[in-house]
Symmetry: C2
Subunit: 262 residues, 2 copies
């Protein structure tokens, strides 16, 4: 079983209950979010995770490099990932802020370079997540896997990898060739499906695997083909899903995962 | 004066009044939409345009190749463009329909190939418009200028060109190099600005030049650098703008155009 629940899929499920649910369902682990961990209580979360034995697959999110204080905040995020036992810190690199697009993208590269020593020291891998181009202005100027791989290239693979999230990459005709070149850079693999019409703000309209048009098996086969054997997170931002009880969400995640990839 | 008003920017302005407004403001022409022309009355529109002497810069839209009846409908669109004196028919190529993404993109190429003879005969240039990747599933599987240029390449430039719409292309790090290669393929150049947050459905949230983050001058300079000297349409889908009187919309279009490109 490679399936892991990303905590954002069940945003209102208390962490201890989510951990118990994942263990009960035989999942490979859980991906955590800093805001949800903070809501639960950071020290309490560290203890709950450690006591459970459930692997933490990733921590979201570092990044947002356009904001003042990005350096200190990302160092803290690395430390939090280490304390939680998360091998990977997902970087959502931030929008334009006051910069032009070219300058904002260059700044992301510089920022990651400045964080690499601390990440190596902490044993946490930075994972650059390309987000769909519709987020380029305000959320993430890294819009394609090609850009993410170029940003990672100057650094050791143990320090900087990339996130493959099907929701963000499915539209790109070049993604299959880029995946063939991704090699050991794949640090995190996440499933979400593309569903239309998009809601206002375009953040909370994602579908469970199989609800939309993304070829999930093609992505799974492509990451496997370059040697990725890690967990497969299901990460769905969807307000209607969030309103349901955690155990129901988890049951749907498990069922949709098997239906889409089985 | 290269500015042309795309009719979609003033969706509820009757065509005869819009033509008079454009002539009064010294514009280079007007870009038309088939649905708005049909609402006004096709024959009446043909007469109004011809009598005015105002150039028609383009007709939107052909395409939607995923739909049954696409061949006949696109032949009609070509004929309508010819009757209206529009040198260019803009193609919005359509979404996935029942196809996979690869198959849908291949189908677009085949469809365009089937239309080329009729377009040449009618003296109407087909202009492939890459739409932002957020429209890939349901509106246009052609998502980048690179894809549009590849689709155009097998055909004579007089028969098939591309549309450069700033709203759809600004996020793409490769667009500047692709524009350098676009040569005489540029058939239509349209300005719209990227404004967040995006509204539900992501269609009607575009901004006037200068209201968002798109580098308008860089685009203008890039198309000019490869020899494009045609009209520059302002095409804004925005419900708030549409509610205003046509003359006010036109005044804002003129002012924002000069502020953004002057």
């Amino acid at each position: 079983m490679r399936l892991a629940l990303n905590q954002a899929t069940a945003k209102h499920w208390p962490l201890d209950e989510a951990i118990a649910g994942c263990l009960g369902a035989g999942l490979a682990g859980i991906g955590l979010w800093r805001d949800q961990v903070a809501d639960f209580g950071f020290d309490r979360a560290v203890r709950a995770v450690a006591a459970s034995g459930l692997p933490v697959t990733s921590l979201c999110r570092g990044g947002f490099f356009q904001e003042d204080g990005w350096y200190d905040d990302n160092r803290r995020a690395i430390d939090e990932a280490a304390a939680l036992g998360a091998p990977v810190l997902v970087l959502v690199s931030g929008g334009l802020g006051a910069r032009t697009l070219d300058d904002a993208r260059a700044h992301v590269g510089e920022a990651i370079g400045r964080l690499v020593p601390h990440a190596l020291e902490a044993g946490v891998r930075l994972a650059i997540e390309p987000l769909h181009p519709m987020y380029c202005a305000d959320r993430c100027v890294v819009s394609t896997l090609g850009q993410a791989l170029d940003l990672a290239a100057p650094h050791p693979s143990a320090a900087v990898g990339v996130v493959i999230d099907t929701y963000h990459l499915w539209w790109d005709d070049r993604v299959w060739a880029q995946l063939e070149q991704a090699g050991d850079r794949i640090a995190c693999f996440q499933l979400a499906d593309w569903v239309t019409p998009l809601p206002e703000g375009v953040l909370l309209g994602r579908g469970l695997p199989g609800q939309g048009c993304v070829p999930m098996r093609r992505f799974r086969d492509a990451v496997d083909a370059v040697g990725f054997s890690g967990p497969i997170e299901v990460e769905i931002f969807n307000e209607a899903l969030w309103r349901r009880p955690g155990p129901e969400i988890l049951a749907d995640v498990v069922a949709s995962y098997h239906a889409a990839l089985g």
